[in-house]
Symmetry: C2
Subunit: 404 residues, 2 copies
């Protein structure tokens, strides 16, 4: 007998049943945004590899400036200018200063930069500095950004623009990332037609394979819409037998009890261990089937779009990230609810809502309408989570928010 | 004399100076996620176009069930089964029930569905219902999701997976979206070398064009890295003169005062009105140049990566969305800061930080290190905003958060 699991139990079971992905590929840095890094990245040498100025001014020895003031400036011999992109050829002598621009390399013997605003040229060869600078002032030290050997990115990180930047800084033209999991997406149901077909009475257009494909792509995977399977056990069996090249299989629909039963049966027929659970104590999305065959995950999501979406976000998405070696870390956002919401204890509820800012606070307006309406999902920008042990929340209470 | 603007003034000036984009294209629905819709979308017909069951059970006339109870069930003649995807051929007679599965089309004459759990078959032809159902119970009415003519998506909306879903439901195979703005990205500086080059003393690898290209692509635009421009007015002028085919030009670098001056001069030389402002009262990112020539925006961002990123996020990104006809609406998230942060009044500060959840609260740990270090941006996942009129925040105070 298959029992109904809590969302947390279901998620743990799914993540434990499917091994983390290990397949990797080397790709161009410029194509790596949003991909999951599969190698540790450390600095091979100090970054920067030399001390740099952060201001326009003069490279000096700080000690030569001590005691300088408006009334009693420190005087320096100007020993030339440091060209950007070149190493100074000579070291700074005591009492000497060299012109330097932001980003320029400090000459040996210097340990600070005096800002040009605090200096005055006296003729062509002398400079007066009207305040003291401390050692290290207005410079970035060699290795201050990263020291040789220092770790900066770890396997499992999803690469953001700034990560691409640091990889460029370290000279990485290619990066090793996790291969994109390939996800087969089927919609099932005799009532479904493709979007290009004018539905007859009793028919509706397929929504879920399009929506799910878009969600799948949004978490670093490849979506392959495999079309509509009629409500026939043979058709479903045949479709599932052609999924050998995929890493994950999503079915949606088959909402009637009979179809649900043979979806489970067809997964069991494919191999071991087969269906691991059937039903999760959440609303919407309760009748969710999860099975594993030869280490490959099969999901049977609800036919109604809001339920399929909630099932995907809570239970499929974390697995797709895990298959890339990444941990899905959603930020914890909270908002206050506009009005009372009731829920049944023992069940996690996900309520569609519109999030908006009111002064310094984030508020959520629940969206009315049944969960089986696509319009309620489209009109929302968030799902509000009513925890399993709660019988509801009161107006003004703060709840967890999942952005959609 | 060009004055330093506040962030809000600078943003308003930028958005007012560049017309909203109007160029459109028709693309496949399956490629439209993340693109900005350029047409209003309304339902052409009622969705669903017929009343559907949301449960497995029996289509009935609700009034025939009134008074039914466990002790005194209502009896129905079972008039057959409604096949999924087909319109029932006959209307329901009074006292009659028809088997229906979830998603099935209600027969004429029925106005509710009795859940199978509340029924019992008596022989093959009769069904006993042990509780009353109300009109409309367990069904979705025709047009309950969307009524014919009802608006569901507006121009300017950035398409999410659920929007792709509703477009599929409405039979849209192609959608009209804003063309992607084409952005030319240059890094400037004699000290810069490409990532594939081993830097000599005094040189560093280009970070910004790689990081900025990744950010540009993340807001629906096309990034074209146009390479490194040496610190030469002629080279900059020549590079800018080849940007005719782009919709927006990003320069970064040229952090020294001299380079900044001729960056502004070269933009002015290109045409009218030229540079509109030079400097924004924010940290990092203050020395930002913005100009418009023939309606086309030119940005001169700082050479240091954190400053370039802050300038991009606050002032370039909103414009790239506007060029697609979209309004950038960032959710207002707040977090409590771990420790006191000082700021100068009259300047907006953006402090790199690590956001994390602690119980029900979101906290931010400021990341130490200079703004010109790429590592501090990589180690953070957020920027904390210290408003212009504030002299800092105290530990435990709540601040606005920008996710990075």
């Amino acid at each position: 007998m298959l029992t109904v699991l809590s969302v947390a139990e279901a998620k743990a079971k799914i993540l434990a049943a499917v091994p983390a992905g290990t397949e990797q590929e080397r790709i161009l840095l410029t194509a790596a945004t949003g991909r999951t890094l599969a190698e540790p990245v450390a600095a091979k040498e100090d970054l920067p590899s030399f001390a740099r100025s952060t201001m326009d001014g003069f490279a000096v020895r700080a000690q030569d400036s001590y005691g300088a003031s408006e009334a009693m400036p420190a005087l320096f011999d100007v020993g030339g200018e440091i060209l950007m992109g070149w190493a100074p050829e000579v070291a700074l002598a005591p009492g000497q200063a060299m012109r330097i621009a932001t980003g320029g390399m400090l000459p040996a013997g210097s340990d600070a930069v005096a800002m040009v605003e605090h200096t005055e040229m006296l003729g062509g060869k002398s400079m007066a500095l009207n305040r003291a600078v401390a050692p290290g002032e207005n410079i970035i030290l060699r290795g201050e950004d990263l020291r040789a050997g220092e770790s900066i990115l770890l396997p499992g990180q999803v690469l953001r623009p700034q990560d691409i930047g640091v990889l460029a800084a370290l000279g990485a033209q290619l990066v090793t990332v996790a291969k994109k999991p390939r996800v087969a997406i089927f919609s099932t149901g005799d009532e479904l037609v493709m979007p290009d077909v004018e539905p007859k009475a009793g028919q509706i257009r397929d929504i879920n394979s399009y929506m799910l494909a878009s969600w799948v792509e949004s978490c670093g995977a490849v979506a392959d819409r495999r079309g509509i399977i009629p409500d026939s056990r043979d058709a479903l069996r045949a479709a599932l037998q052609e999924t050998g090249t995929y890493d994950c299989i999503l079915l949606s629909g088959g909402s009637s009890a009979g179809t649900r039963d043979y979806t489970a049966a067809c997964i069991d027929e494919l191999g071991k261990p087969g269906v691991l659970f059937h039903g999760v104590s959440m609303r919407p999305g309760k009748p969710l089937i999860f099975g594993v065959v030869n280490g490959k995950p099969y999901f049977g999501l609800s036919g109604n779009p809001a339920s399929a979406m909630v099932g995907f976000l809570l239970l499929v998405r974390p697995l797709l990230w895990q298959m890339q070696g990444a941990t899905e870390t959603l930020p914890l956002f909270r908002a206050k609810v506009e009005r009372n919401l009731s829920s049944a204890s023992g069940r996690e509820d996900y309520i569609r809502a519109w999030l908006y800012a009111e002064g310094d606070e984030l508020w959520a307006r629940p969206i009315l309408g049944q969960a089986n309406l696509i319009s309620t999902v489209v009109r929302g920008n968030a799902l509000l989570r009513i925890p399993q042990n709660s019988e509801g929340v009161e107006a003004g209470e703060s709840v967890e928010v999942l952005l959609i």
